[in-house]
C-alpha cells in the first residue's frame, strides 16, 4: 500500500488551526510530518484499522493540547478550576438548546409551523450545542477524574471524543466525502454524526453507572444514565420489526430531544453544586 495519506494529512493540517498562530508557525510543519510518520507506522502495523485507532487518541490529544497552548498564551483564561465551574452552566445551556429544538421540532411535526426555514432554525441550536457540550464535558471530566472509577473515566473520555468528533465531522465529511463516489458523498456526514452522537450517549451511560455506584454528584445521580439512555428514543424501532413507541409520528423525536434536554438542564443544576458527592469508602 501507499505510504501517503493525503486526506488524513490534510485533515490534520486543518485541525492544527486550533492551535495559536505562533505555536502553529513554530511547530505546525513538524507536527504534520510527525503525524504522517505515525499514520505510516499505524497502517504498516494494523492496516486501515490501525489508522482509525490512531485518530481517536490523536483527536483527544489535539484538542487538549490546543486548549493548553491557547490558555498559556492568555487567549483563553481557562484554568482547571474555571472549567470545572463552567461545566454546570454550560450543561444547562446545552439542555436549554435541546429543549428549544424539541419545541421547534414539535411545532414543525404537528403542522403548527410549516416554514422550511424554521427547520433550519431548529437544527442550528442543536448543531451549536455540541461546542458548549465539549467544554462542559472537559469540566466534568476534570472534576470527576479522581473520584470516578475506570468505567466513569472511560465514559467521559468516550463522550468527549464523540463530541469532538461531531464538531470536526463536518469538515471531515467534506474532505472524506470528496474522495468518495458521488452517490455516497452525502452519507459520510450522516455516518460520522451517528457514530459520534452514539459515542456521547454511551459515554454518559458509562459515567452514569459510576455516578450511581460511587454517588459522584451531590444529588440526582441517576441523571447521567438517563441522559445516556434517552438515545433509545431516537432509534428507528421499525428497523427491528418493533412498532414505534408512540402512535403519533414525530412525537418520538420530540420526546428524545425534550427528555434529553431536560436531563441536561437538571444535570447542569446538579453540577453547579460545588459540594463533592457523598463518596462511600468503596470509591477510594
Amino acid at each position: 500500500m501507499r505510504g501517503e495519506f493525503p486526506v488524513a494529512e490534510r485533515l490534520y493540517g486543518v485541525l492544527l488551526s486550533l492551535y495559536p498562530k505562533e505555536f502553529r508557525a513554530a511547530y505546525g510543519q513538524a507536527m504534520r510530518l510527525t503525524f504522517r510518520d505515525a499514520c505510516r507506522a499505524a497502517y504498516a502495523r494494523n492496516g486501515a484499522g490501525g489508522l482509525l485507532a490512531l485518530w481517536l487518541p490523536t483527536l483527544l490529544d489535539l484538542f487538549k493540547s490546543a486548549l493548553e497552548e491557547r490558555a498559556r498564551q492568555g487567549e483563553i483564561m481557562l484554568s482547571k478550576t474555571r472549567l470545572i465551574a463552567l461545566a454546570g452552566p454550560l450543561t444547562v445551556g446545552v439542555g436549554v438548546l435541546w429543549v428549544t429544538a424539541s419545541l421547534g421540532d414539535l411545532a414543525f411535526q404537528t403542522g403548527l409551523a410549516q416554514d422550511e426555514a424554521l427547520l433550519s432554525l431548529i437544527t442550528l441550536p442543536f448543531l451549536f450545542s455540541f461546542v458548549p457540550l465539549l467544554f462542559a464535558l472537559i469540566g466534568t471530566r476534570l472534576r470527576f477524574h479522581q473520584a470516578a472509577g475506570g468505567l466513569g473515566r472511560l465514559g467521559l473520555a468516550v463522550s468527549l471524543a464523540g463530541c469532538a468528533g461531531l464538531i470536526v465531522s463536518v469538515p471531515a465529511s467534506l474532505l472524506l466525502g470528496g474522495a468518495a463516489p458521488e452517490a455516497a458523498q452525502g452519507l459520510w456526514l450522516n455516518y460520522a454524526a451517528v457514530v459520534c452522537v452514539l459515542s456521547i450517549r454511551i459515554g454518559y451511560s458509562l459515567f452514569g453507572v459510576d455516578a450511581l455506584r460511587y454517588r459522584l454528584l451531590p444529588r440526582w445521580n441517576l441523571l447521567p444514565l438517563l441522559v445516556g439512555a434517552t438515545v433509545v428514543l431516537s432509534l428507528p424501532f421499525e428497523w427491528f420489526g418493533v412498532p414505534a413507541l408512540l402512535p403519533l409520528p414525530g412525537v418520538t423525536p420530540f420526546l428524545h430531544f425534550a427528555v434529553t434536554g431536560a436531563g441536561w438542564v437538571f444535570l447542569g443544576i446538579a453540577l453547579m453544586d460545588p459540594r463533592p458527592g457523598s463518596q462511600p469508602a468503596a470509591a477510594l
Binding site: 513538524a30 510530518l33 507506522a41
Partner: protein, 116 residues
C-alpha cells in the same frame, strides 16, 4: 546551579522519558515518540500534540535544543527538525535518575516487588 535543578524535580513522566529518549543521541519528533514507546514497553504513548507542547516547554527551560542536523534529502524529509539534550538537560536527567534510583533502593530494601 544544583538549586535550579532541584526546583525542576520531580520531572513529569513525559519530560523524563523524552529526556531519556534523547540521552543516546539527537532525534526528530517521531523518533522521540518511538523511543519513548519502546523504552516503556508501550506503557507510555506520547501523541503529536502533547509531544510538541512538551518540546516547546523543554526548549524554553533550556533542557533541549534544536540541532542543525538535517537528514539527507534523498533518504528522508529535509524539513524534519532534530532535537538534542543540552548540558543542563543532561544534568537535570542525571539528577532525576539519581532520585529514582534512590527510591528504587528503598523499594528493594522493603521487598515491595517480591512476587511481582
Amino acid at each position: 546551579m544544583s538549586e535550579v535543578i532541584q526546583k525542576l524535580l520531580p520531572l513529569t513522566p513525559t519530560v523524563f522519558h523524552m529526556l531519556l529518549a534523547l540521552a543516546d543521541g539527537e532525534k526528530h519528533g517521531y523518533g522521540i515518540m518511538q523511543a519513548v514507546a519502546e523504552e516503556t514497553q508501550g506503557q507510555m504513548q506520547i501523541r503529536t500534540g502533547s509531544l510538541y507542547g512538551a518540546i516547546r516547554r523543554m526548549l524554553e527551560a533550556g533542557l533541549i535544543e534544536e540541532t542543525n542536523e538535517r537528514p539527507d534529502p534523498e533518504l528522508d524529509d529535509e524539513r524534519r527538525r532534530y532535537y538534542g539534550l543540552t548540558d543542563f538537560g543532561r544534568r537535570v536527567l542525571t539528577a532525576e535518575a539519581a532520585r529514582i534510583a534512590q527510591a528504587l533502593a528503598v523499594i528493594q530494601a522493603k521487598h515491595i516487588l517480591r512476587g511481582v
